[in-house]
Every structure is written in structure tokens, then in C-alpha cells.
Symmetry: C2
Subunit: 150 residues, 2 copies
């Protein structure tokens, strides 16, 4: 999902060969240069991040209340979005520029990321064909249509 919205890299704490392979296959067929990077020391990544850090958590400030501030803070700087799979250490809450709640209710972290990207960067949806794509999907009301790029 992050790839489809134009993100450049996913950093994963602990190496996951399956994710890496899946993404490489998607890149090959549908194009783009989305990178899967394994991170051994995520604290170092956060501390050395030269840009804005958004941590998505149900304990944070509701997105509509901080959206404008986030957009003006980003202002072309690099954006790191943190989604924790399990219990997130408290220093992440402190180091994040923004702790943002999609909803103050339990919900999946992947969904939070999707909604955050969709809400902040809707224009990314329009630009849905990547460079070096082998395949292109033709939207269809009741079926599947895929063409090969020449």
C-alpha cells in the first residue's frame, strides 16, 4: 500500500525475507523502485532522521486536528512514518514530531498507514502507473483486464 502511494522505502525491524520477495515481485511486474530495508537498530534510524517523524498510534491526536500542521511541517522534508506492530516503547512517543491517531480505537496498523497516506497525499492515487511496469490494469466494472506494456 505504501508503495502504491509513492513511498520510496520501507524499513523493517528484523529481516523479513517474505516481504522482501513479495515487494520485489510486485516491482518487477508493476514497476517502480520501492525499497525494503532491514533495520537492526531502529532507534538509530529515528535519532539520525533528518526530517519529520509521524508515529501512528491510537493514543495520539486525531488526524483532522493536526493534518494542516503536519503538512506545513513536512514542506518537502523527508517523512518517516512509524507503525508499531506490537507494544511501542515510550521513547518513540517522545521522539516523534507528531503522534497521530487515525482513530482513538483499536485498529490495524497497516490500515492506519493506508488511511494516513490516502488522507494526506490523495494526488498519489491519480499517478498510479510506475516506470518500468510490465503490466497495466484497465479498470473494469465486472471482471479483470490487464495489458502488457510494450
Amino acid at each position: 500500500m505504501a508503495r502504491a502511494f509513492g513511498a520510496t522505502t520501507i524499513y523493517i525491524h528484523q529481516h523479513d525475507e517474505n516481504i522482501k520477495k513479495t515487494i520485489e515481485e510486485v516491482n518487477k511486474r508493476f514497476g517502480g523502485d520501492f525499497i525494503v530495508s532491514s533495520v537492526n537498530n531502529w532507534r538509530k534510524l529515528i535519532e539520525s532522521w533528518n526530517g519529520v517523524i509521524v508515529h501512528l498510534t491510537m493514543y495520539g491526536i486525531p488526524l483532522p486536528e493536526v493534518k494542516d500542521e503536519i503538512l506545513s511541517t513536512i514542506n518537502n522534508r523527508d517523512l518517516l512514518i512509524i507503525v508499531g506492530a506490537e507494544k511501542v516503547p515510550s521513547d518513540v512517543y517522545k521522539k516523534a514530531t507528531f503522534n497521530v491517531a487515525i482513530m482513538n480505537q483499536p485498529h490495524s496498523e497497516v490500515s492506519s498507514l493506508a488511511i494516513f497516506l490516502y488522507d494526506l497525499f490523495p494526488e498519489s492515487m491519480r499517478n498510479s502507473l510506475f516506470n518500468k511496469s510490465q503490466l497495466k490494469i484497465i479498470p473494469t466494472a465486472h471482471g479483470k483486464k490487464v495489458i502488457k506494456n510494450q
Copy 2:
């Protein structure tokens, strides 16, 4: 995520005790009556559905192009949203009232559901406290705050 947006039921093909337990625990702590229902015959569910069926698939029509039509078709009727975990049989494409693409690019099915609900029913986000909730999250800029409901 579907629960947080006010859905009433998730139908799962093939029984999944883990999902059931997780949801029951969330209901207990954060309230609401979200139901996990195991379905042996999903075709029967689709065929007997008295309402609107939306199938989320990257092969479908982009959401912005059909959103208004979907909303006017729903018009208080029951809505069944289908997200296929693996290869979806062709009759689902035929039986669905709408085949909708969040993006015509590969992306996770859970994310599609989240974005679809977020886009069509944004008001659900505001009403984020359920009945019978034991806990309530107080949005916080840099930390966690949860209170017990009396």
C-alpha cells in the same frame, strides 16, 4: 478497523479462533457489539444478500468515479463489502453490485477496506466511543492516556 468504523459483523470464510478471540477482547475493553461470524458457504451468503455488495479489487473501477453512485445505491440498505485474501473466483466479480479499486495497483486487502470505509463514512470517525466501553483513550501529543469509564 471495520469495527472502529461502525461495521456490525465480519464474515470469515473458514473459522479463525484467533480473530474471534482478539475481537471479543477488544469489544470487552473498548465496547460495542462487533460480531465475528464464520461462514462455510460464502457463495450462499452472497446470493442471499438483501442489499448492496461492494467487492474491493485492484481490477475494479476507481473509487472516486463510482463513489456517488455507490452512496445513492446503498441509501440505508445493508452493505456487504467483500475483500478476498487470495485469488477471487470470477463469479464474485459478476455478483458484486460494484467492483471497486482503491488503486489499480497491488495493495493489501485490509488497507482497501480501511480506505473505503474512511472515504465513504468519514462521520463514523467522530463517533469513536462505543457503548459498554470499559476504557477510553484521551488523545495525547506525546504519551499514552487511558481512563476507565465509571
